[in-house]
Each structure stands twice: as C-alpha cells, then as structure tokens.
Symmetry: C2
Subunit: 205 residues, 2 copies
DNA sequence: TCGGCAATGTTTACAGCGATAACATGTCTC
DNA sequence: GAGACATGTTATCGCTGTAAACATTGCCGA
C-alpha cells in the first residue's frame, strides 16, 4: 500500500497510540523540512509522515496548515532575535553593534531562505519601528534603542523613524536580493553595504 | 456536472475547436488573476477555466505550470522596465531621474504585490548591476548609466558597484517591507527614504 | 482538389494535497 | 472502576498538476 491516504503503519512504530509531545515534534520536523525545500513544496502530510503520525493528527494541535506554518515562523522569529541580541552583545553595542546586528540579519536570511521568506510574508508585522515599548519583547527593544542611539542627538522623532527604516530597508533589501539570486552572495559586499548603511544612519539627514 | 474534471462546456462557447491565440490569452488571464489572489492561490486549472479551455490545453503552450508563471513574470519585467524608463524620461534624468525610477520601482511592487514577489523569487536574476552591456536590454542599460552618472567621478569600479547595490537594496527593501505589511505604506515616507538613498549614492563613501 | 500530417484542442485518469467527519484509544479524575 | 476528555486513526471529499490517449482543425504538397 502506497501513501495515497492518511494512514500510518502502526506496526513499525515503537510508540503507543499517543505520541507524547506531537506539537513540538511537528514544529521540529517542519523546521527541518524548510531547510531543504521551497515554500510550495512544504506539505502538511509530509511533515506528519516525518513524525510518523497520520496527517489528520496535525489538526488536534493546529486549526489548519497556515497555523502550523505560523508556528514555524514564530520559532524562526525567536531564533533571529536571539542571534541578533547575541551579535550585539558580542560586539559591545554602538555602531559595531549595529553592523553586527545587520550582518546577523542577512546571515539568518541566507541560512534559512524558505523560513525567512515565510516569516516576512505571513507574519503579522513585527513593527520593529514602533518606538513605544510594547509587550515583553526585549530583543526588539534592544534593537530599537541601538538604532536610536546611532541617530544624532538633535534629530526629530520623524528623522529617527526615517533613519531606522532606511537602515532596515538596506539590510532587508540586500538579504532579499541575495536570497533571490539577483545579486551573488559575497561577504565583503555585505560588509561594505552594511557599513555604509550605518554611516547613513549616523549622519541622518 | 460540476468542475471535478478538466472538461469545458463546448455548447456555451462561441469559438470553434481552436482558440486562435491561446498563449497570449492564458498570459492575460494569468496576469488578471494575480491582481486578486496570492501566489499559492493561482491555479493552472482556474486560468484555463477563465479562458474557457480545458486544463490540459495549457500544456500545448507551456511545458508546465512553472513555465506559465514564468511567462507572467517576463511580462511583468517588461512592464516594470517600461514604467521605469518612462519615469526617467519624464523627470529628465540625473538625480531627479534616479528618484523617479526608485519611486516607480516601489510603486510597481505595491501595485502588483503577487506578481512582483513572483518576479523576484522565480526570475533567473536580471543582474541589474552587471555593468558590462549585455544583450539588447536597453531599459536596464539606461538604468545602469543613470546610477553610474550619480556616482562621483573619482569612484572606482568597485565603489560604483557597491553604491548601485546599496541604492537598489534600499528601494527593494522598502518595497518588500511595505508589501509584507511590516511597514505601513506612506508616500511621504517612500519619498524621504528614496531621497536619502540618492544622497547616499551621490556621496558614496 | 484532395489526402494526410502537424498543431492544437478534448476527455480520461491518477497521485498528492488540505480538510472534515466519524470512529478508536489512551489518560486522568472522581 | 467509570466515564469524560484529549489525542490519536481511517474514510472520504473536492481540489490540484500532469500524463496518456483521442478528436478536430488548418495547411501543404501531390
């Protein structure tokens, strides 16, 4: 019997009827799958198969496929934030911190192409630029403060917002262009572009 | 009989067995469809239905779905180039031309979200930045010359490339962030970011 | 003028997909 | 121990992309 239906071969599995922690297993399998496949090749059924569970079992933990993918995006968001905070701390903040965070952003995108694209397309807008402190997200808070610190003291609120958006645009645009093979990946080029982005923010006009 | 199969009701159609120019009809219908649907909602069968032809007829003109979508991307690329050249000519070139082209780029992305995303993800890399004159693409040629003209005279080849890439990154990043609802769409913000991008190129460090 | 061939349609069929409904099994609580 | 509830399963539906076989048409050479 091939896999035309939702069935799963219980004989071959050493687990019992219940999985234990299916939700996290599905998320892990999903993230694994994103590493080697493009977005439209990611199927709910295959993720379920990887975990060794019937396709419909997924619906006990997620209302639909989009929700499962959303959970993958959340995980990616946390990881990206973690990497950025780490990069900033290692570099000691300030302008070197800004550069390091930018590089971490581009690197994450290049290392996780499908996931990164999904995060951007489907996430409900992180609102990096919203200056007012929101919720508990200390990672983003740190980033905002970092950008704000780079902007010259006399700058208006509006100038700060534009400068921050420009910095984000450069890094994001560079990441996307390289991700989409519009521009060849080149570490030196990444460094050069990010460096001049930082200069742009620091002298924000 | 509902539409569970590939069939098409010949009675209701006033055309004969042959369509006339199915290829362009499919491309037009496809572009129409992209206006109202997201990428994963675009189905080959529905495009065929719009044209009033069986799903498999598509395969007489395109090897597979990807090829059909590729044709849509080509069409989008031509339109984008046309808009950019038009914008540049209207503005008289130089730095105003640079700004106008950037705005046209962002506007096209915002006006054609699905198509633009598809163009970037699936197109074989336009290589805007490759300075050597390639093929016959006069539109891109014009853009390259325009960017090159903005860069200070003393700049090296490498500096020019970095400056051009940075400009493209800013515009592309801004377009993608707004497209993905990470940043609210705001004409004034677009102008401000593009303007400082131009300044960045003109003073390229 | 006609006969056949290449181009371009059609129907039929299949496997994979996301999703719903009905059913099965295990766990936890009283 | 009983039964409620969570979490599995199979069966089935309608949709998708695509291959194979068949049908119709227009065109080109005898």
């Amino acid at each position: 019997m091939s896999r035309k239906d939702n069935s799963v071969n219980i004989e071959n599995s050493k687990r019992g009827y219940h999985h234990g922690d299916l939700r996290v297993a599905l998320v892990q399998a999903g993230l694994e799958m994103l590493k080697t496949r493009s977005a439209d090749e990611v199927s709910l059924r295959e993720i379920a198969r990887m975990v060794g569970v019937s396709a419909t079992a997924v619906y006990r933990h997620f209302p639909d496929k989009a929700a499962l993918l959303g959970a993958l995006c959340d995980e990616g968001g946390r990881e990206l934030a973690r990497l950025q905070v780490e990069a900033m701390k290692k570099s000691g903040g300030g302008r070197p911190g800004f550069d390091a965070v930018g590089r971490a952003y581009v690197r994450f995108a290049l290392d996780n192409p499908t996931l990164f694209r999904m995060m951007m397309t489907t996430r409900p807008a992180v609102d990096f630029l919203d200056i007012q402190p929101d919720r508990d997200n200390s990672a983003l808070q740190l980033l905002r403060e970092n950008i704000a610190a780079l902007v010259p003291a006399g700058a208006s609120q509006e100038q700060r917002r534009i400068a921050a958006l420009q910095a984000w645009s450069i890094v994001h645009g560079l990441a996307m262009l390289m991700l989409d093979n519009q521009v060849p990946v080149d570490e030196a080029v990444i460094d050069a572009v990010i460096d001049s982005a930082a200069t742009g923010v620091a002298t924000s006009r």
